[in-house]
C-alpha cells in the first residue's frame, strides 16, 4: 500500500525526494553502465521491472480466506541487487502511480524510499548475512522477503508519523498508531511472502539454474 497523492505535506515530499535521489542516481548509473557494457541487459532489466510490477499484483492464498499482494522487492533485491532495484522500483512506482493511481507523483520520493530503498537493502542485508552464517538459501530467501516486506511498511509508518504526529502523544504515539495499522497487520503477509520466496527459489533452482548462477544468487544448485 503506497502513500497516496496529496497525503504528505509539500516540504516533506521534497525532503523524501532529496533522500531518495542519491540511491536512484546510483541505481541509474549502474543501469547505464550495464547497458553500455551489455546492451542486451536492457531487456533483462526491463523484464525484471515488468515482473516486479506484475508480482505485486499476484494474490497470495491466505489462511483467513482473504487475499493480499506481495511487495516483491525482497526477491528482486536478491536476484538483481539493491542499487538496480532502487531504479527499477522508481519505474515500477511511477507506472503504478500513472497506470493504477497507487501512490502519486508528489509522494513518489517517499514511496521510493520505503519500497525501493529501505525494503530491498534490508532484505538483501538479511540474505547476505544468512548466507555468510551458512544458512540454506531457503532460510536466506525467507528472511530476505520477510524483512523486505515488513521494513517497507515500517518505513511507511515512520514517514506518516513524521508527517502527522499525534495531537496528544506526538511522534511516538503516531508511530504506534501507524505501525499498528500498516506494519502489525502486515506480519502474516510478510510471513506469507517469505514462504512464497522459498517456493519460488526452489522452483527457479529446478528450471532456471543457469540464470541463478549468472546472477550470482547461488554458486551451486538451489536445494531450498
Amino acid at each position: 500500500m503506497h502513500i497516496a497523492e496529496g497525503f504528505l505535506p509539500p516540504l516533506q515530499c521534497a525532503l523524501w525526494y532529496a533522500a531518495s535521489a542519491p540511491f536512484i542516481i546510483h541505481g541509474a548509473r549502474a543501469v547505464v553502465t550495464e547497458s553500455r557494457k551489455n546492451p542486451e541487459n536492457r531487456l533483462l532489466l526491463a523484464a525484471a521491472g515488468a515482473f516486479t510490477f506484475v508480482l505485486s499484483a499476484i494474490k497470495l492464498p491466505s489462511v483467513t480466506g482473504s487475499s493480499s499482494h506481495p511487495t516483491g522487492t525482497g526477491l528482486g533485491a536478491v536476484l538483481f541487487k539493491p542499487p538496480v532495484m532502487a531504479f527499477l522500483s522508481t519505474i515500477v512506482l511511477l507506472f503504478q502511480a500513472l497506470l493504477l493511481a497507487h501512490g502519486g507523483i508528489t509522494t513518489l520520493g517517499a514511496n521510493v524510499f520505503s519500497m525501493g530503498i529501505v525494503g530491498p537493502w534490508a532484505g538483501y542485508g538479511v540474505w547476505v548475512l544468512a548466507r555468510r552464517l551458512g544458512a540454506s538459501p531457503a532460510v536466506g530467501i525467507f528472511g530476505a522477503m520477510f524483512v523486505a516486506d515488513l521494513s517497507t511498511y515500517c518505513m511507511t509508518s515512520v514517514q506518516l508519523a513524521i508527517a502527522y504526529p499525534d495531537l496528544s502523544s506526538g511522534f511516538v504515539g503516531a508511530l504506534v498508531k501507524f505501525l499498528g495499522v500498516f506494519a502489525l497487520t502486515q506480519i502474516p503477509l510478510a510471513i506469507a511472502e517469505g514462504l512464497l520466496g522459498v517456493l519460488v527459489l526452489r522452483y527457479l533452482g529446478r528450471i532456471a539454474r543457469p540464470e541463478l548462477l549468472r546472477l550470482g544468487v547461488t554458486k551451486d544448485a538451489v536445494h531450498a
Binding site: 503506497h2 497516496a4 496529496g6 542486451e40 533483462l44 508528489t106 495531537l167 522452483y203
Partner: protein
Amino acid sequence: MHVIAVDDAAWDSPWRSVRVGEKALLALGLVLTALLTPAWPGCVLVALASLGLAAGPARIDLRVLGVSIAAPMAFLVIGSASVALTVGDTVPDAWWSWGPLSLSAASVGRAADLFAHGVAGTLALLMLAMTTPMVDVLTSLRRFRVPDALIDVASLTYRLLFVVADTALGIRAAQQARLGDAAPARRRWANTASGAGALLVRAWDRARRLEDGLALRGFENVLTTLPARRDASVRFVAGSLVVLTAIWAVCLMAITSGWARGWAR
C-alpha cells in the same frame, strides 16, 4: 484487467492529441493546488474541476475512473482514520474516549482535511493518467536529457508489462482450469509459487526473444522512436491557466475573508 482499462482510456482520450507538457501543466497544477490550498474551498474546487474536466472535454469514462480510485481510497480512508484517532492522554474536548484512544473535533477535522487533500490530488493525477499514455510520458523525458539507456529500460518495461501481465493471466487461467483453486492450501501455495517462478522465466525468455528481434533489425544502441508531432494549443494552455487562477483566486478570497476551512500547507 485494471491496468489495461486505465491505459485504454488514455489511448482513447480526445486529449491524446494534446502535448504532454500542456496536460502536465494542468494536472500537476491541480495536484499542487490540492496540496497547498485549504481543504475548503481549495481541495473541493480541485476535485470538482478534475471531475468536470474528466466528464466533459476529456471524455473519461466515469465508471473506469470510479474503479481506478478505489485502491487509493482504501489507503486514504485507513490513513485518515488513523490520524483521526488520538493515542495517549484524553484531550479536553474529546467527543469519545476509550482507554488511551479518543476522538476530538480537532483530530477529526485534521483527518477530514487530509482526506480532502488526498482525494483531490488523486483525482487530478488520474486526469493525467487517463488522458496520457505512458509511452508519451516516456518519450517526452528525452527533452529533459534523461539518458537514453534509462528511457529504453523504462519504455521496454512498459511494453513488457502487458506481455508479462497477459502471461500471468494465462498461467492463472490454466491453473484454475486444472482445479488449482479447489486444491488443499499447501497445493495452492505451490501453485502460486510455480506461477510466479514460471512468470519470471517466461519474462526472461520474452526479453531475450525481443532482444534478438531488435538486434536483427539493427537496434543495438538507442531504441529511439519517432514522436508524434503535436502542435501547441494556446487554447488548452489558456483554459488551464484560467481554471488554476480561478481556484487560487477563490482560495485567496476565502483565506482573507475568513471562511476557508482546513490548513493551507
